[in-house]
Symmetry: C3
């Protein structure tokens, strides 16, 4: 039951360690608070292991990556694995540079992730070692539609098997898959792509959801992806004629703040493939 | 009179140098503008002394601390002391790592702070060299209530004497104390803890308030803490049924923008112990 | 026609590489999305050349400058020049430290900028090698009024000739000039100065506007400056009695999101000198 997933986040209030970019760090912190979790951002080599140790889950996001933080990500990730803490990878714009690709592959080699969440272009880059990309956005050639959905589902299952992690590919249609089962999720609104960092925010709350539901991670990721999508819908319904992407950003986080298990359960729109 | 304190901030428009974390830097800048001050953020060794010199006050915040900025904090702090500029310390999450503790103790040794502002767990860590913490949040065991208030007041006065700084401990009940006098402040709203960085924002405006009222610093800190708390109340009253923590964040800063001396005077809710 | 300028941004959706400060990076990303462009923030030496290469335009902003990013700015700028990508410089607070001045002069020496955008104090510092400044704000002695407008226009034209770049000086009256022609723009609202980073945001969208209108750059900068100013007006008209600078920040970005060519054309308020 998706309902139980979110109730568990609010009840346990997991503390999430984020090593993330400076563009969306504030939104990630606020959306973690909105869903009932607690954020801490820390990225210095001197303290990341300790911070990971006092936290319950770890969210690694490679946006605004720099030389100083790569090693921090590796150290924190290894520590989280040692301690059995859930770890999420958000490979922001991984196709945009050799530096991001090398870092992402290095992270995949050294760290066992529980969830990898990105857009389809980022995921193809991770899976195939190369890929197309339009900066941090999805390449048009990659967009998932009903026509190529089955193919994308097989890709997600294969990639999940290969890295032994839950794969969350988000876009117009979202796919959340392990090696055997895939959820195709139809929640969301196109306007979400005009707010910076909705993907980063989703990775942050996904970490909270799996941390508070460690025995039921696949369903927890589904719940997180459905939550974000339906809050995009709820926020869109709330827009006045003068509201644009900045108010929309606030309303999405506001909607996560008010989201309850009943709404999550009843508005979730997915099918299993 | 608290009224005169805020009038003085708006009249003098002090320029505040902030060495602070990247999570809440934007909110700190906007709330400084909201209260009538002017912000500048700068953290590189190459320029911090000069920036401190052209500013009127300095706010040091150890969130997202990194190796590069520790030395910058020390240099800026020493410079501010030399020039007689007010300096505030916000020991964000100081209990969370050895790195933060060592940095905070080093800062306390080398720099004479005018105000130290944090939650009770952070303050106990600073005072006792160790402490409990839940990341950047207060540990439940430390929460100040009417029952242990007198004990917390004595702790604050002692700690103030020890570091010759005004101590501002914020939480459900706030305490602002020097070695002889303590104000217990009841303004505020529990929902403030679901917005990231309300503490950082308070430290930023506290620096502005003491800088514009350097002959009356204790009352200036009381005014800053009351301002933040009552703006949390005013913003809460303004929430619609769909507004959550993200809109609340905006409304708090909006309320600071509109806060006048009369409101500050009449809504301030404190007693002296 | 200003109308065509903005239509072209929405149609081409240029990808803009931003090397910018951590205080306003989120707002810069959201306003780029609002105007129809796409942002990517990246500042590490290891990847800036590649990121610049996959982008269409480059925005360099020296706020929260640090030793690590100076070299990144130089590398990205040279690459953009090689590839013929438009490049904007925002010399935030250049008068505030030797470090910022040295960096700005170094950038001006090595990189051919298409546009330099700043306040009058920053521009005088750039042009004369020294200048007054109040942190990141304009010095009162420099403020452009109808009385000294002609003098400021001549300064802008001269400086444009000297650096072969379009000069955008923003303030109460804005001046956009090349060596021969100057637009004096009257759009805008004084309250914009109580929102952090409206200048940074303007530099970001200016980069998008010139990138999508590379054959008509002077008019593109005029369109960007008029857009920002009139969105400051539109957002101001929308303020409720409780809204302050934080809501205003959101409303400005919202207004950019909704701005169409007709409104831009009809509300633009300038004269040519």
């Amino acid at each position: 039951m998706l309902k139980d997933i979110i109730d568990s986040v609010r009840e346990k209030s997991p503390l999430i360690h984020n090593i993330t970019n400076y563009v969306t760090a504030n939104d990630c912190a606020n959306i973690l608070l909105a869903c009932g979790a607690s954020p801490i951002m820390a990225d210095d080599l001197e303290e990341v292991e300790e911070i990971t140790a006092i936290c319950d889950g770890l969210n690694i996001n490679i946006g605004t990556l720099n030389c100083r933080t790569v090693e921090s990500m590796l150290m924190a990730g290894r520590k989280a694995n040692q301690l059995g803490h859930p770890v999420t990878l958000d490979p922001v714009g991984v196709g945009a540079s050799v530096f991001r690709r090398k870092t992402a592959f290095h992270l995949l080699e050294e760290i066992q992730f529980d969830v990898i969440r990105g857009n389809i272009s980022e995921m193809k880059t991770l899976a195939n070692g190369q890929g197309t990309t339009k900066g941090v956005d999805v390449d048009m050639a990659d967009v998932i539609t009903e026509e190529n959905l089955m193919q994308a589902v097989l890709f997600a299952k294969d990639f999940s098997k290969k890295c032994d992690a839950i794969i969350a590919i988000t876009g117009g249609i979202d796919i959340v898959a392990d090696s055997k089962k895939a959820y195709c999720i139809y929640n969301g609104h196109p306007m979400m792509s005009s707010v910076t960092g909705t993907g980063c925010q989703l990775s942050a709350i996904t970490t909270a959801y799996i941390t508070a539901n460690s025995k039921n991670k696949l369903e927890a990721v589904v719940a997180a992806v459905c939550s974000m999508g339906m809050c995009g819908e709820i926020a869109y319904e709330r827009l006045s004629s003068m509201d644009g992407n900045s108010s929309y950003r606030n309303y999405i986080i506001d909607a996560i703040y008010h989201l309850d298990g009943e709404t999550l359960q009843s508005r979730a729109n997915y099918r299993i493939l």
